[in-house]
Symmetry: C2
Subunit: 320 residues, 2 copies
């Protein structure tokens, strides 16, 4: 299979997005934006970001695109397009490369996205570099800087599962586990995020490094204190059963759940819950936002308050 045959195999026969003006096949791709354009890019390298020991080709493609869609979701946007630059090493067979593209197409289709370009070149090591475009209504970007004192802190889904799945893979347990499925095939929350459009102001960040890290980013950029209640962290039954001692730690610092961490005004609480129900997305309120002289994240465990660092480590809060 040469490059032309590959392009033929992966090129879409039609475009899902009506904003396409000129599809694949000329010097570049042309689209007529239906709102503000959100753009992100993410690169994954074999044996650095993933291993073929633990990830099948389809999952590698799927998860690489999932990371990008999660970034689009974290801006509140509706996914529209993706492009793929692939460096392929000689160890990869044609079937495996097609499976990688199929993993992306499987997820892209769920989100109504079109493949709009890219290239496939030879090299020493597999590199998957993806870009993604989404649209948001003018002025409805959801930024990390949008948290305000008085806000409620929420998170979608459950936390720490992807970290639990990675642990099982490293211990070579059954690959049929739901935790492993979370690690391989995460579900980015774009459908929920674009549904938030009626709300005037939402602060959003996607959980790629763990909410300890994401909450600290929000606190820093918004200039606020974020307080998280440990007992309200959404942790799945299956994670609690398999890893009772690590579940809380992984909920705080386990990466790549691709859930959304956000804050909204208290008066938008019911509206948010209605959107979440309509979009079939579990949402849990886990904390509050308050004003602070210096940005920080506090973890409340029962009556104890500790400073939660970016890494997920805690230390006792100094009284001020």
């Amino acid at each position: 299979m040469d490059e032309f045959e590959l392009i033929r195999r992966i090129s879409p026969s039609y475009y899902r997005q009506s904003s396409v003006i000129k599809g694949i096949g000329d010097d570049a791709f042309v689209f007529r934006a239906t709102g503000d354009v959100v753009f992100t890019t993410d690169t994954m390298v074999e044996d650095v970001h993933f291993s073929r020991q633990t990830m099948e080709p389809e999952a590698i493609g799927y998860r690489a695109l999932a990371a990008n869609i999660s970034d689009l979701a974290a801006m509140g946007s509706d996914p529209a397009f993706y492009s793929v630059s692939l460096v392929v090493s000689p160890e990869w067979t044609n079937e495996e490369i097609l499976a990688l593209y199929e993993g992306m197409e499987r997820l892209g289709k769920q989100h109504g996205m079109d493949l709009i370009g890219g290239d496939t070149v030879g090299g020493k090591q597999l590199v998957v570099s993806i870009t993604a475009h989404g649209y948001i209504h003018k002025g409805k970007g959801r930024y990390r800087s949008h948290a305000r004192p008085g806000d409620l802190v929420f998170v979608t889904g459950t936390l720490g599962d992807a970290r639990g799945g990675l642990e099982q893979l490293m211990q070579q347990r059954s690959s049929a586990s739901p935790l492993i499925a979370r690690h391989r095939y995460p579900e980015p929350r774009a459908h929920f995020a674009s549904g938030l459009e009626p709300l005037q102001r939402v602060c959003l960040n996607d959980v790629s490094d763990g909410i300890a890290s994401e909450a600290n980013e929000i606190a820093a950029v918004s200039g606020v204190r974020v307080t998280i209640r440990e007992q309200d962290l959404p942790i799945s039954e299956v994670l609690l059963q398999n890893y009772p001692d690590q579940a809380v730690e992984w909920a705080l610092s386990g990466g790549e759940d691709f859930e959304l961490l956000g804050t909204i005004a208290q008066e938008d609480r019911e509206a948010l819950l209605a959107i979440a129900e309509h979009r079939e997305t579990p949402v849990t309120f886990i904390g509050t936002v308050s004003s602070a002289d210096a940005p920080e994240v506090i973890l409340q465990s029962g009556k104890e308050s500790k400073r939660l660092l970016r890494t997920g480590y805690t230390h006792l809060q100094e009284r001020r």
Copy 2:
């Protein structure tokens, strides 16, 4: 220098494009398109697409972005943004990586472009994957399918110089040669291309593989015959002096000149020349477009007409 320090060093302190809504630093980048959006991406791998024996880091960055800008130019668009995904092998020093970014910035600045994202990750081999965005006025995309019987064929600049420069580099001649400069620091014709906006219809293709290849693409997609007059091919004095025997062959099939090959209606000839003069871009008329039962490219050498194949090879035309 860790990744955060690198990001700090390469992040723009302000944006040149007024369409920027949310700059680097959140989950994704946001812009408000001022026209139809043109998007392209291109990936270069060390020891596949370039060698450090012949290219200094600054030139590697410069040329990688030049290839993308040339694609934007070939659609008639005004360059606006670029992003860079870099896989860095341990052999690269921090200074070399910064020089690579500086090469891009040097060219990006000339075209008023902003760096809008990307990532830098470790790997076995340097990979430079660039995306670029440009804007075109609605309906003013310049496609390969736009050639019509009766059109004039033109090309910008001179042809074959980059191929001559590569030859000199492989023979390890002086690196001060103007041919080597053309190879290392090509000038994509975006300023000229966006200046064509007043013309109703222009067919454009950028010369990345050689005009034999590009003319065949235009002929195939537009369904026409393209006839090129060998004696009118613009070949530089320096290429003729250094490589008198290969100059014509390289003008036809030498790649990476990043000039533009195009066709326009005959009545737009004077308008095109006026734009070319205003934008300080040499333009030469080298042929004509005619209707054909089957798309083809003909090379006229004196009284002889040969079929010009995609590869640059010719064979005697069958009489029909």
